[in-house]
């Protein structure tokens, strides 16, 4: 059980943490280089650029060039981190990511910010709700979705040490800090181990990224209002995926709800259903965008409209358990 105050959490933007961690890593490892596509202030890679201008490359508004320039840098022994908005990295750069970076097995870190619905007011043209699906189908790609600033720091550090292509999906807004910075560690032997944020026997909530907070809040209130014991699983890694921890929880509760700021097809729901169908067939209810584009609005309003906020999770669980 987390000791964090879910009702009044501290807030920190993942992209701010990303920029700070990159800048710190730049001092520790001279091989780290950073690339951006005219969004350095938005993605916060500017924090690295300010400290290490010679190791920062702004590629302009050219995402395909962004990815493959990073690929070239990696062949010269550099560890490139490249950033832009998620839709542009995963969408416009997909062929480059597949055919050059992953097929060549290159050490490129793609860390886009502004993923998912919480991008908000810019609307559907800028909201990546397909990028998890796009990235996880590429052989050899690692897909990571941190839930708060603490996890962001740890996975960026992990990615810098790991050799191979990595996609780290970050979001724009301030997010609740739900982990204790002093004690949080990745499992060194199995970094993709699913984190059981909260134990319970009645129902399993599987979340990733910024929806982990909503799952925790829903779990807390389901317990308070109805005495429902919810198990909350945080899928920091979408790929490789820890099917063992998921199957174990599903075996115990017999009911699984997934929640994500992404299409349910091919995203977290896709992974969970694929894995359960093999290891522990279990009914799954899927919260996420349901074959719909996003639209303009505040992040909160969009989470409500698309049914992925704590209230939607709460209602889904109550509805299922009472039926």
């Amino acid at each position: 059980m987390t000791a964090i105050n879910l009702e009044k959490p501290e807030l920190k933007a993942l992209r701010n943490q990303y920029g700070e961690t990159l800048a710190a890593l730049g001092a520790e490892n001279p091989n780290i280089v950073v690339l951006d596509a005219d969004l350095a202030c938005s993605t916060q890679t500017q924090k690295f650029a300010d400290k290490f201008p010679e190791r920062f490359f702004n590629q302009g508004i050219s995402e395909q060039d962004l990815i493959n320039t990073a690929a070239g840098l990696s062949t010269a022994g550099k560890i490139p981190f490249c950033s832009t908005f998620a839709l542009f990295a995963a969408g416009k750069g997909w062929d480059q990511i597949r055919n050059t970076v992953c097929y060549s097995g290159l050490n490129v870190k793609i860390c886009p910010t502004h993923s998912g619905l919480s991008l908000g007011e810019d609307g559907a043209s800028h909201q990546s709700i397909e990028d998890i699906a796009l990235m996880r189908v590429i052989p050899g790609m690692t897909v990571i979705v941190p839930s708060d600033a603490v996890e962001t720091d740890r996975v960026i550090r992990w990615a810098a040490e790991y050799y191979g292509p990595v996609y780290v999906r970050l979001v724009r807004p301030n997010c609740p800090v739900i982990h204790d910075d002093a004690s949080y560690q990745l499992d060194a032997a199995m970094p993709h181990r699913i984190r059981i944020e909260r134990g319970g026997d009645d129902i399993t909530l599987v979340a990733t990224g910024e929806t982990v907070y909503h799952a925790l809040l829903a779990a807390e209130r389901l317990h308070k209002d109805h005495g429902i014991q919810v198990e909350v699983l945080n899928c920091l890694f979408i790929k490789p995926f820890d099917s063992e921890t998921l199957a174990k929880s599903a075996r115990k509760t017999g009911k699984v709800i997934t929640v994500e700021s992404h299409q349910v097809m091919g995203g977290l729901a896709g992974v969970v259903c694929e894995e359960l169908s093999t290891h522990q067939p279990t009914p799954v209810r899927r919260l996420g965008t349901q074959d719909r584009f996003g639209q303009s609005g505040t992040g909160d309003a969009l989470f409500k409209e698309y049914g992925i906020d704590w209230e939607a999770i709460y209602n889904e669980a109550v509805c299922w358990l009472k039926s």
Binding site: V33, E54, R55, F57, Q59, G60, S62, Q64, D65, I67, N68, T69, A70, A71, G72, L73, S74, T75, A76, G77, K78, P80, D95, Q96, R98, N99, T100, Y103, S104, G105, L106
Partner: protein, 296 residues
């Protein structure tokens, strides 16, 4: 930063630069190997392999500095086969260079082979980047040059592109980046054979005058006959001089003939990606062998 001349670097032992007659003989031999390689699996791209092999032998056996015994040697010059469908020509070159054993020659495009239809870095020594999806090589070359420059290594990065490939937007993104980042050690060579799968490049989507296009993007440009060995060598030497005297990358527009060396394949779009049947193979092989034998 100062860039030392390539002449100051030492070629690895046992790898003398070949003379033009030796290179011509080698290219004639590799043309036969290319034909054999494609005939065997009945699959591959003869047209674009035969158009670029003269460029490849000059790049690899006269110009670049490399060492197959030390494939990861950091100071080596780099080559990217952006036009990945020219794989048979690239593989023949790498076999001659000692990166791929000749025993693999007959495995092109067959199951479990290292010689994939398009070059895959995971299977091929001396190949840093997989290619095949067109338009991507130049961005990689610019990134490579940036990485080497950070380490104060003045190795050259040669990117061989097809002309049809230059219809891809990523190429022109990279052309902008190379000029912007002043990566003078990048040389893009365009195999300008005027043909792509659907026919004449000018009819499919006109590339027009390529030299002024690169010049307008602040590149040094040299236009040559891509089958004239002296012109190829002069252009490469000029690219080195440009790299020392300017902060611009260099483009070499090499005018070539698709299917060069096989009479019925020359300038025929239909031979872009088709293997010859037995009869055609025998005619083609006789022509290429006669050309080889005619060289001293």
């Amino acid at each position: 930063m100062t860039v030392s001349t390539n002449q100051a670097r030492v070629l690895p032992a046992g790898l003398p630069r070949l003379t033009i007659p030796q290179l011509q003989k080698l290219a004639a031999k590799l043309r036969i190997d290319i034909l054999d390689m494609i005939y065997e699996p009945q699959s591959g791209h003869p047209g674009s392999s035969l158009s670029c092999i003269d460029l490849l032998v000059n790049i690899w056996f006269h110009y670049m500095v490399w060492d197959p015994a030390n494939a990861d040697w950091k100071e080596r010059d780099r080559f990217i086969m952006s036009k990945g469908h020219g794989a048979p020509a690239y593989y023949a070159t790498l076999m001659e260079a000692g990166y791929i054993p000749w025993s693999e020659k007959n495995t092109l495009r067959k199951i479990h082979s290292n010689l994939q239809g398009h070059p895959a870095s995971r299977y091929i020594q001396g190949c840093d980047i997989s290619t095949g999806s067109l338009g991507q090589g130049l961005s990689c070359g610019v990134g490579m040059a940036l990485g080497l420059r950070l380490d104060h290594i003045d190795s050259r990065v040669i990117v061989l592109m097809g002309d049809g490939e230059c219809q891809e937007g990523n190429v022109w993104e990279a052309v902008l980046s190379a000029a912007h980042h002043k990566v003078s050690r990048v040389t893009a060579i365009v195999d300008r054979n005027h043909l792509q799968i659907d026919g004449d490049t000018e009819k499919v989507k006109a590339l027009g005058q390529m030299a002024p296009k690169f010049a307008a993007f602040d590149w040094n440009v040299i236009e040559i006959d891509g089958h004239d060995f002296a012109q190829i060598q002069d252009a490469l030497a000029q690219a080195d001089r440009f790299a020392e005297e300017t902060d611009r990358p260099t483009a070499i527009i090499a005018n070539t003939v698709k299917g060069k060396g096989v009479s019925f394949m020359e300038n025929q779009a239909g031979w872009h990606g088709k293997a010859p049947n037995k009869e055609q193979y025998e005619v083609a092989r006789a022509e290429l062998t006669a050309a080889y034998d005619a060289l001293s």
